[in-house]
Symmetry: C2
Subunit: 404 residues, 2 copies
């Protein structure tokens, strides 16, 4: 986002002064930059020409863009630079085209420094003290409260909404604040009620090892909302939540070879109901970004197909899946919470695993309402509100999820 008028008043935070550039000069394929603090930097000339977002070149953020990478040749050359306007840099190109850049935005690209990557906060059984709790009325009515809860979801991958009316309509009303609700084969907002002979395991009363939902999809569900309508206190069914990023780091530390295998060997998850659906995805259990940080997890031991691997790798793969299952089952890694009517638990299904203890369906009816919102919808809501409430956080790269 360079030279985009709507962001001209937003400067990169930190140590960079408002006008960090003292002089610029062309050096062939590079532009040499003298900094106000006495240092120096380089930019690629071709990159700089492509970074122009004037009206003729068009704006990449809106998609009304007319200059393409193929339109800027390797020999592009700047005739001169103009730094006379504070906070702004102009380049005059060989063909007479003039590009204007916000100096601070340009400075964030000096020497090809990479983007700022958000660092999530990991948690284990001790989540309770850090768990963000947000009142329904505030989140529904107030963008600042909504933003605070979005920030908690970014930090911990989980947050609690309280005081939510036990009405069907309230689930959609509050969830819709976080992004467009995704319609699934069960509908937009669907009921999870304990009853015998249920077709999916989530509707039976047996205990469930914490898992991510639908790892057999190419793109599993994003944020999941669990709205407790009736929970039957005393009959079991305690929620067990696990930070997948935390258990991933435990594996990376204690079993680096097994961790590594789960980042590069595709594991197959499947789901088939004869004549109805047949999903199958071959994916990494742990996804890493360019810096090696975990960006997502997909795992449900109940959906693991018989795996394919060379004979000299299959036992290590099995041990990796066994070790991960043990870590997920370990109460030290589980935040345990008995949902109360009026609470909505929101969590990132590509980071946080959810399960529950068994419960006795003859003692009480257990009724949750649930819906999903795509991760990029929630992150879009976060970034848009960050422009208003915390501009320095708006452009950080967020962890992108359980990708392949």
């Amino acid at each position: 986002m360079l030279d985009t008028p709507k962001h001209a008043d937003q400067h990169i935070p930190g140590a960079i002064p408002a006008t960090p550039i003292r002089a610029m000069r062309a050096e062939g394929t590079r532009v040499a930059v003298d900094l106000a603090d006495g240092g120096s930097a380089k930019l690629s000339t071709r990159w700089l020409r492509l970074a122009c977002e004037c009206e003729l070149c068009g704006d990449t953020a809106s998609g009304k863009r007319w200059l393409t990478p193929a339109d800027v040749g390797k020999t592009v050359h700047a005739e001169s630079f103009d730094l006379s306007t504070p906070g702004q840099v102009s380049a005059i190109w060989q063909d007479g085209h003039v590009s204007r850049y916000d100096a601070a935005a340009l400075a964030s690209h000096f020497d090809g420094s990479g983007p700022i990557r958000f660092q999530p906060r990991l948690w284990s059984s001790d989540l309770s003290g850090q768990l963000g709790r947000f009142a329904f009325d505030a989140v529904v009515a107030d963008d600042a409260a909504l933003f605070a809860s979005l920030r908690a979801l970014r930090d911990h991958g989980i947050a609690m909404l309280t005081g939510v009316p036990a009405e069907a309509e309230a689930t959609a009303r509050v969830a819709g604040r976080y992004g467009p609700i995704r319609e699934t084969s069960y509908g937009k907002v669907f009921d999870l009620i304990s009853r015998p002979d249920a077709r999916v395991a989530g509707e039976t009363a047996r205990a469930q090892i914490p898992h991510t939902d639908e790892p057999f999809r190419y793109s599993p569900p994003g944020f999941i909302f669990f709205h407790a309508i009736r929970t039957g206190a005393g009959s079991g069914g305690t929620s067990l939540m696990v930070d997948g990023f935390h258990v991933a780091e435990l594996m990376r530390t204690h079993s680096p070879e097994l961790f590594d295998l789960l980042t590069r060997h595709g594991v197959t998850f499947h789901r088939e109901h004869s004549g109805e659906v047949f999903f199958s995805a071959e994916a990494h259990v742990f996804s890493l970004d360019a810096a090696g940080a975990v960006t997502g997890i997909r795992f449900n031991d109940r959906c693991l197909a018989p795996q394919s691997a060379p004979l000299d790798r299959i036992d290590d793969l099995t041990e990796a899946l066994a070790e991960l299952t043990r870590l997920i089952r370990d109460p030290q890694n589980q935040f345990q919470h008995q949902l109360q009517p009026g609470e909505v638990l929101v969590f990132d299904n590509q980071r946080v695993l959810h399960g529950r203890t068994e419960f006795d369906p003859t003692l009480a009816v257990r009724h949750l309402r649930s819906c999903n919102i795509d991760r990029d919808g929630v992150h879009s809501a976060f970034r848009s509100l960050a422009r208003r409430f915390a501009p320095e956080e708006a452009e950080a790269v967020l962890y992108q999820g359980a990708i392949f």
Copy 2:
């Protein structure tokens, strides 16, 4: 899928005889297999125990699964094997548990042979002769016709539906056969009508370089349906379709270093409408599977943010994006087609790029109706129908899309 009753009648196709196994014996962590054809094979003992899907262990395809990887130790041991039932193998384990396997299904895992991966058929400007055309009436009423069109979509990533009534309801009726229609911020089925001052480039009359839609999402749209209602013949607006897998292979052949860069350096695509949405994804332009085959592409030159890369890589990255843009623009790689009212063009947005020539909106109104279906929904429909119409194709790993 081993020992799952509903598949017991389905044998792996090819050279494997119906009962390929003559004898099995335990050899520590391995099970040695003597084959009917005189050959031999090995299986992992631990893998074999985990592959049991009896009622006690549970069924991984339905998710009603009770045995976990952590429940099978490294020292698990088979006491004996029973091959007396034709087409079936039984293992009796040290704890007395008995597992039964379909012999042919087991044979597909001998020596850790990998899964069968579907090989797509590539195309360029010559698509016309191969393009699958399917009548609306048949696809709506007949599962065999639907399956034929799903197979065409798998093979070429594109197919044409003909004789579709120019009614709003018809778009959803035919698209819904391929999977649940995904609701977007524009609605489920939305109109693309040329008009001035449109906010997104797709609604203006300018030419569009072929692109994939919404590469700035973590998971871009899957299959896109374009239903032509009015097209204004003679006024321009010819559809330009490009097989992303074909241009990827051209790059791999002619510019292997540039191709390689687009498979491992994350490129940032973004979309921001101030106060409304702010999407950003850092992703590989070309996604590869474990065998190095291209499984997906995401690219829209108009949504490329100013890229981040080390100074010694940024010019190669720019050249890679420029070369890809040139290949996409090259008429030799474009299938050109003037959509006619009653036609629906369906294509895989994570494989096929779509664009159009400019058109004169003062000459005629141009009206398309469009909707999206997730890729895993369409692939689920394909696999489910393949169980009926082409069982040998049901379990192949399909190309999984434009992943990170």
